[in-house]
Symmetry: C2
Subunit: 751 residues, 2 copies
């Protein structure tokens, strides 16, 4: 096991502007240019002011530019000092008519007031995760900028740009300190640029204020603008395309000739709108990115009261792909755990009344097919049951029995509560009350039955996008959960956000998601949020936030021919998972949907074994065992891997990876000398190379390896259920070469 | 006491279209015209379809037109049948960019499908109010309209226009029944017209989506458009003028030559946006009104799911002004009480730490004057107290003592909770958490102290307009109240609404206000809402909704020279109070603010005695005793009236009234043979005529009348505190003529 030396807190160094720091973090000084080096000195950040007093930064790796001169700052729609009251309200009225009274700027006319440098090296322990301990080692440079705003040279304000340079990348944020002359302001635009030096190949999804369950496009940066207008957003229930071409983060990039991997995202998105990225022409045929914050109903992009900081803008830079997956930069930029007692937070697997509603003809969320039923109006006991309602007491008991028998801690039930007949797409506020079950779902009986079997129930709260209605019922809903022994909630936000005019990813809704996480923590409830803003590492601070969806998961595989093509899960760890765990819902053994309905063209685009490997490759402390129990019963030997695989780890090593092509990941189970290895490939067959000498196995120990491999004749499209299970013995010097079928994989358990 | 004969429920009559009804409610039929008569046959409503199939109605009184042909209907922005899902979401995305994909109409091409007539006469007992019993006697006509919407003659939908004609006016609403072809739709505009036949004199305030604390303009209808642009909205913290000229309801109108009084408003505003009225030219130099619904952030004016009804549009029509004040039409159009056990609902008087913050230099809501303090960030125990914070434990005890000694049930405390330093005008979401007191306010000590004195505390919840934040904390806030023996909450909505883009009077915020009322009922909490949408009689259904502000109250008298001019309270009962009780906060004895600060030009625009009379003239079950205790101690004899006056009544008679001039009102105390009479006048002195023969006094009984009259030398501006208190004996045949000073009054107690 890898060991970091825990260093005594932070060695804090303060230096006046331009002075060379004593800690070795500064590079050479060049005129007004400030320099910051990473601990290993391979990354260099520079900062200076342009001739207009604009803040400008660059980033280099091994002496080569990654980001060319990139501007920073804000356009301000309104500002007011503390107690600057009436004009503010007046502005607001005018802002409603789309006129801006006092636009001001916070992007030029700056001077550098002071620079403070710090070096940090320590380790911390996450409540759960891919590692037992995480090392935070970085050099920091905080640049205090002064902007004169009045005729008098003393009229002005201070903002701070804080840079943290790690060996694997950069984080920086803006800070607006408490000060008399800067109380409240509204952000019109954040102007931060990421002007990439090379025309890298990007793995990207299109900018959108409400949806991100898209397939990834792979293209050069310079091709994004051309591809943007025809980007496929189908299958998403509520979309609002960014009106200018651009992408969502995390966006993964690589140099075609290798040796450079760059990932841009953000960390600790709190009380701010999500950052998307516009593409812009930076000359020489090159394309840069510029921050594009998701606007609210009034077109505003941020309401700030000092003291406040933006999220961290993150740029992971490495010379190999596995290092991107092993980066803990995002987590290190988040705040420490805010929950004192975390004993109640438990990583876990769960089954659920869920895939039944995606597999053709197997079940419905709704209880009746009568038209015009309506929550609070309809008496469901007087409607005709449709006979397909899956969340009935007997069926749920079957799932509870299955979970109890198979080392699965949770049972999710979707469709248990009244309102599903018109839950979707009606822009309706009061769809659910989160406490009223259908007549055939016996809350008390299931509570007692689950408890008798040692199984936890997972509550489902679909909001249909009405965060307003959900907040109205939130305390009652959480209390109902506690009263009935539910400790995890899967929340959902399918549909246009209500409050109307708000977006899934604006400041308002971002605040909603965090409000739920915090309030759930008060009730000791864990969260699996579907359709929220994509994660930014907040699970370090709020480890009850186990997982999110925020990306295209398995469900799309049931929705027609496209599904999730073979490369999809080889890209996701480089993009969606960079910010945090996803409830991807792996584990579908019956991959061909024509099994249920001969007319269905839908199928899972993997082999059965690749589904096993996903439990290792895709990290989440909350992993669904997504298929129907009866399908697992058909493949009991393969199911053994899912039964055994943990959801919490001491250590993780990515043995080989290339975005869009393949990933091989090894992980050590938490507190046990057991290892699990998963390898996946895209549409091309390949041979996974598993070099055990790269892993800190116990010296001299012989491990029994159970290998779940694709059958020789396996392939995702022609023979997905062909597999073979073998055993062998491995030591720290073993090397296995295992063939993977087209969109196949391998899963290995080492004991 | 007046007695109505209670008739057995409703005599329901159903008739096919055009058939003459058996109950005598129909007038003559003229071609395709339907007619409905009031029970006394003085009012006649007609309904017919225009040549375009537009629904058109008229209203006549004693054979003379009140409303000429007026159209009805809606413009629809979007519609979908039940489960018409994907197109709807797509439309929504487009609606965001202000493009409408499928505008349709619901205002022409109708045919009459059937007509159903009903007559009703019964009495009901309100939980509290101006009468012990209220008679609901009306004739009803429901017109079922069919609109063909497709090529096939069976493609179409039904809407119902339900008219109820009382002796004192008309109510009508639209009903959208449950039907397969009409599931969900969005209202672009409601097109209901009120085309007044005459150019009446109107008492009006300008249309505004967020504010109504305005002075009344008095002008002919034809002058409104010209006066609208310069209408004074100052002193309101958040305004959003209606973009076309028009007024808010209730709007009061009268014929200059007398004999006709008309009031337009609405009843039972539930899940719909408030109706304001645009003026429009109806030819011949005449001006009509057209409904103007308050839009939301997307410009939409109503989200409907069938079955749903609009609020009732109300037109009170009488030949004398007192009859307008005695009309119970609005209450009769509201639903019966929805609260089963109402024992906990108690009309009451209250004092409060409140006027201290308006009287110059007497106190502040805030605890500290330090800059940039912020809820959740600042530790208030470490800030420097400003020494002016009024809501401190000792001061509140003083109010509790005063209340206990003077038959006053409640003590309000404003400024008790953290956050007031920047509560106002910052468009800030998280201003208050509603449960965290300032360091100098001891919740437990005051809870116990108040209980020991038999006094109830009134909680204050200022939201700063963030209904979003309030709902987040609502359950916790109400539970905190129950835990600390608060049974009434005064809520406040000063500032722009958050969710941003929403308005105080749109459907979203209307729903918020009712949500609070319903949720408070669950906690057995009574509500006094400030800055909500103006009442529409919902206190019949939800009698825990004691009072609202929603109009220009006493507080404006402290804010400069204009204040509330003498006529103000002679108009308010005809306008603001038509919909329900107002927390006007009467009872200011120290009327001249220069008493506190010699530079102040502010003063109450009444005599002291008129302040007493307001307790009778302005009905509310929750009456503030608004002045400082020390001022009442200076006028103990006059204060006796306030100490004695009740807030709940068996019977009310308006003896004389003219909007803008004077009002004399007599009321009998609930369950006691005590009468209270209040008379007020405008800027002109006059003699109030109190004819006891008009009141159902106990026959032969001699009552002792204590008369609180203006002093001979009294006037609002020169000698407001001059009064004399006399006693006399009156019987059912007495007649008193009592002189009122300029903006003076008289208050009489009969035992």
């Amino acid at each position: 096991m890898k060991r970091f030396m825990a260093m005594s807190a932070a060695a804090v160094m303060t230096a006046a502007a331009m002075a060379a720091p004593a800690d070795g973090s500064a590079g050479k000084s060049d005129g007004g240019r400030l320099s910051l080096l990473s601990p290993d000195k391979r990354l260099e950040l520079t900062f200076q002011l342009s001739g207009f007093g604009e803040p400008v930064y660059t980033l280099s790796f091994d002496g080569q530019r990654v980001l060319d001169e990139s501007r920073m700052g804000f356009d301000i729609r309104h500002e007011g000092g503390v107690n600057d009251i009436q004009p503010f309200m007046h502005d607001w009225t005018i802002a409603q008519s789309n006129t801006v009274l006092h636009p001001t700027q916070m992007h030029e006319g700056f001077r550098i007031d002071s620079v403070r440098r710090t070096s940090v090296d320590y380790t911390w322990e996450p409540v759960w995760g891919e590692e037992k301990e995480i090392r935070d080692r970085h050099n920091e440079m905080a640049v205090y900028l002064w902007q004169q705003t009045g005729a008098d040279s003393t009229d002005g304000r201070t903002i701070v740009v804080r840079f943290r340079l790690f060996n694997d990348g950069l984080g920086f944020r803006y800070e607006f300190p408490r000060q008399k002359t800067l109380g409240y302001f509204i952000i019109g635009n954040e102007l931060t640029e990421f002007n990439l030096h090379e025309d890298l190949t990007a793995f990207w999804i299109a900018g959108d204020y409400d949806a991100n369950e898209f397939l990834y496009e792979t293209s050069h940066l310079s091709e994004i603008a051309g591809l943007y207008p025809t980007f496929d957003r189908s299958g998403n229930s509520c979309i609002c395309p960014m009106p200018v071409p651009g992408v969502q983060t995390p966006v993964m990039m690589k140099r075609d000739s290798g040796g450079l991997y760059v990932n841009i995202h953000e960390a600790a998105l709190v009380n701010y709108s999500a950052m998307q990225l516009e593409v812009h022409d930076i000359g020489g045929g090159r394309t840069g990115f510029k921050a594009h914050l998701v606007p609210d109903a009034l077109g505003n992009r941020g309401y700030i009261q000092t003291p406040q900081s933006t999220p961290w803008r993150t740029v992971i830079v490495t010379d190999n792909a596995p290092a991107v997956l092993e980066s803990r930069l995002i987590l290190n930029l988040n705040e420490p755990c805010a929950i004192e007692d975390t004993d109640w937070i438990r990583p876990q697997k769960f089954v659920g009344v869920w895939w039944q509603m995606f597999a053709p003809g197997q079940g419905t969320w709704s209880y009746t097919n009568e038209p015009n039923v309506q929550l609070g109006v309809t008496d469901y006991t007087r409607t005709a049951p449709n006979g397909t309602h899956a969340a009935n007491t007997e069926n749920v008991k079957r799932y509870i029995d299955f979970a109890a028998a198979n080392n699965i801690q949770g049972v999710l039930v979707e469709g248990w509560n009244q309102g599903w007949e018109d839950w979707f797409g009606q822009f309706k506020d009061f769809v659910f009350d989160f406490t009223t079950p259908y007549p055939d779902f016996d809350v008390a009986e299931l509570r007692d039955y689950a408890a008798s079997k040692g199984v936890q129930l997972v509550m489902h709260h679909e909001t249909s996008g009405s965060t307003l209605n959900y907040e109205r019922y939130l305390d009652r809903a959480y209390q109902f959960m506690k009263d009935n022994n539910y400790s995890v909630v899967k929340s959902g936000y399918v549909g246009a956000i209500i409050p109307r005019g708000s977006h899934h990813y604006d400041q308002n809704t971002v605040n909603h998601f965090l409000h739920c996480i915090r309030r759930a923590a008060d009730y000791e409830i864990m969260i699996d949020a579907h359709e929220p803003v994509r994660p930014t590492g907040l699970h370090r601070t709020w480890p009850n936030y186990l997982a999110a969806e925020s990306g295209r998961g398995t469900e799309f595989e049931s929705m027609g021919e496209t599904g999730n093509p073979p490369e999809h899960t080889t890209i996701m760890p480089f993009t969606r998972f960079i910010g945090g765990p996803m409830d991807y819902t792996p584990g579908i053994f019956q991959t061909d949907m024509s099994y249920y309905d001969s007319t269905s063209v839908a199928r899972i685009h993997t082999t059965l074994v690749k589904q096993l490997a996903l439990y290792v490759v895709l990290y989440s402390p909350l992993q669904m065992v997504a298929d129907l129990p009866e399908n697992y019963e058909r493949f009991q030997d393969a199911f053994t891997f899912i039964r055994n695989v943990p959801t919490d780890w001491d250590y993780t090593k990515v043995l080989e990876a290339e975005p869009g092509d393949y990933i091989t990941t090894a992980r050590k189970a938490k507190g046990e000398d057991k290892w699990y290895i998963g390898a996946i490939t895209d549409e091309n067959a390949r041979t996974a190379v598993i070099d055990f000498s790269k892993l800190p196995l116990t010296k001299g120990k012989k491990y029994t390896a159970t290998i779940y491999a694709d059958g020789e004749d396996a392939s995702w499209d022609e023979n997905p259920q062909s597999y073979r299970i073998t055993e062998t013995t491995v030591t720290g010097s073993s090397l296995l070469e295992i063939p993977l079928a087209r969109s196949g994989g391998v899963a290995i358990e080492l004991r």
